[in-house]
Symmetry: C2
Subunit: 362 residues, 2 copies
Amino acid sequence: MTRLHQLRNALAEQGYDAFLATVRSNQLTFIDHPDPTSVFGGLPYLLITPKACVVFPGLWVSNACRDLLTRCEVITNELGDPPGHEQLVTYLKKSGIKKLAIDVLGADVLETLSKEVSTMTIVSEAETIRAMRRKRTPEEIEMLRKTAAIGDAGIDAAFSVVRPGMTPRDVEAEGVATMLKMGCERAVIAVVTGPSTQYLDSGTDYRRTIEVGDMIFMDISISYKGYLGDQTRAAIVGRGTPAQHDLLEAVRQSFYQVRAALVSGARAQDVYAIHCRNMERKGWRKYFYHHISHGVGLGGSDAGPSINATSEDVLQEDDVISCEPGVYVPGVGGARVEDIIHVTKDGPVPLTRTAIERIIPI
Amino acid sequence: MTRLHQLRNALAEQGYDAFLATVRSNQLTFIDHPDPTSVFGGLPYLLITPKACVVFPGLWVSNACRDLLTRCEVITNELGDPPGHEQLVTYLKKSGIKKLAIDVLGADVLETLSKEVSTMTIVSEAETIRAMRRKRTPEEIEMLRKTAAIGDAGIDAAFSVVRPGMTPRDVEAEGVATMLKMGCERAVIAVVTGPSTQYLDSGTDYRRTIEVGDMIFMDISISYKGYLGDQTRAAIVGRGTPAQHDLLEAVRQSFYQVRAALVSGARAQDVYAIHCRNMERKGWRKYFYHHISHGVGLGGSDAGPSINATSEDVLQEDDVISCEPGVYVPGVGGARVEDIIHVTKDGPVPLTRTAIERIIPI
C-alpha cells in the first residue's frame, strides 16, 4: 500500500473530504509521483482528495509542475494570475469539501478560508500525520539504506584525504563531491578538528589547518531523493595522547551500548541516561550537552522520535533514528560517533555500514 | 573607520547606550573579530556597548566563543546554567543601560525585558542599521571581489566538465569542490538544463541527464567568510537551433543594457522596466517573472537594495548588487545571466569577471 493509499484510507475513516499539506515532508510523502524531489523542492499547497492530488505551485515552478507532475491536477499560474493562496481559496469554495484536514496553515490563509468557505470544518491533523509517517514503510527503509550507503561513501572519501596542513574545507570538498556525484541533491560535512588543548563542540576555528595531535570528527548531512542521511565518525590525527585514546574509546563504547538499547519499547529518557552515566563515570557529564537521537526519513527528521533529556517518546518497530553520543573535553579534544538505526522486531539494525574505527595514516 | 566604530558613533549621536543584535548579518558586521564566520555561524545575542562587545552564546558554542572571540566579553554557558536569554536579561538589569537599540527581538524576550528592566527604553533601529550596512565599505568591497573571484573559478570548473550524458549533480560536484577548496563555508550550484521542448524555470527535472540540444544555465550561491557570492552563466549544449541562439543573445543583450543602467540615482522600477520592455518586444514578457537584482554583502542580501516590479529603492554609490535578467520560453529553452555589480561614481563595475559567453565543446 502506498503512502497515498494509506492517507486516503485514514481520511475516509475519520470522515475527511481532503487533506491540505503545506509541510514539505508531508508533500513529498503523499504526492502521487515516484520521485518528487527530482521535480520540486516544495510547493505552497498540495490538496489530496479521494480522487486527485491537486497542486497549487504558484508562479515560480508552475511550468515544471504542469509538465512533470503528470499524475496530479496542476493549477497553473502565469504572470498576472492571482497568487497561489487565492487560487486555493477559489478551488476550495467550488470543491464541496465539508471537512478538511490540514498540517500547518498560515494564520492569514486560515482566516480567509474561515470567512470565504464558512461551511467547511478545518481540523489540524499534524500529529496524526506525523505518527503515520514515523512508522517507516519497507520502501522508505530501502531508500534510507541507499541514502546511508551514499553517506558511507562520502565519509570514506573525506577521511581518505585527511593530512596535516589541510583545511576542513579541503576535506569537506572531497566528500561532498563524491556524494553529489552519487545523486544527492544536498550534501554538507561538518569537519571539526582541534588541538588537544582546545574545546571541540559545535563551534570550531575554521582558520586553522588540521595538525598532528588533533582529534577530528566529521558529521555529514545529506538529502538523496528527499531522504535524510546523517552519520559521524571520529579519529585522531597522528599517534595521539593516552587521554585522547581514552576519550575516543569511551565514546565508541558508549555508542555501542546506546545502539544496543535502541529496541522497540525503550523509553527515550532511559536511552539518554545510558550515555549520561557513562560520561558521568569519566567525570565528563558537563561536556556532553546535545541530544542522542532524532528521527530520519523522507523530508528530514520531523516525524520523530527524539531521544534527549526531556523527550517522552517510546521507541517502536520501524522507527528509523540516529544514534549519536559524543563528548567534548577541554584540554583533550572531542569525539562523536553516529549511525542510522532501523528499530526492528529483532533489535537495532544499522543502515550506515562504514567502519566505526578510523585510522588516519600519516 | 571600522564598522564597529561607525556603529558606536551613530549610537552616541542618537543617545543610545547599547545595540542588541540578533540578526546574523548584523552580528557579523559589527562584532569585534577580524573573521567571525571562522568562529561561529550566528549567536543568540550580541550586545554592543561603547566599551565592549558582549557575547551571549548559549550552551552549544560557548566554549568556542570563549576561546576564540578574545576581544569580546563572553558570557559563558555551561550545562545547568540558565539559557542565553535569561543571562541577557540578568546582564541588562545590572548594566545601567537606559536606552537600547535593537534589530529584531523575539516577542517573549521583549516582554520579559519590558517587565524586568522597566526603566529601559527599547527602540528598533533595524532600518537605520540596514541603511548603514547598505553603503559598502572599501574593505567589504575588497572581500566581495575575492568572493566573486571564487565564484568565477567555480562556474568555470563546472562549465568545463559539461558533456552530454552527465547529470546536473555531476556538474555541480565539480564546481562545489573547487569553491570549497578555495575556502567557502557554503557552496551550491543550481544546474538547470532541458531540451528545447521543455520549460526552464526554477523547477527542473533532475532525473534527466544533460543532452545535445539543451539550453543550460548555472546559478551559484556561495558564502566566503560570511560574504555572499552569486552569479549565473548560460549556454547551449551542441549547435542549438536559431530560436535558441536568438533567446540566448536576447538575454545577453538585455543583461548588458540593464547592467549599464546600474548607476547612482537610478530608480529600481526604471531599471526593471528595461528588461521587461526587451522581453515584451520578443513576445516573451510573460516568461520573465522574477526580480532583476538584490543586495550582496556580508551575511547575505538583507541590506538591499532590491530591483523588482514593486521596489521603491533608488540606487546609490557603493551599493553592491546582483544583475540577473533571464527568460524561460516554452518550446525553446531558458537562459539567465548574472553578475555582481559595484555601483561607483564612475558607473557600474562588475566584481564577477568570468566570460559571459560560454562555449561547450562537444
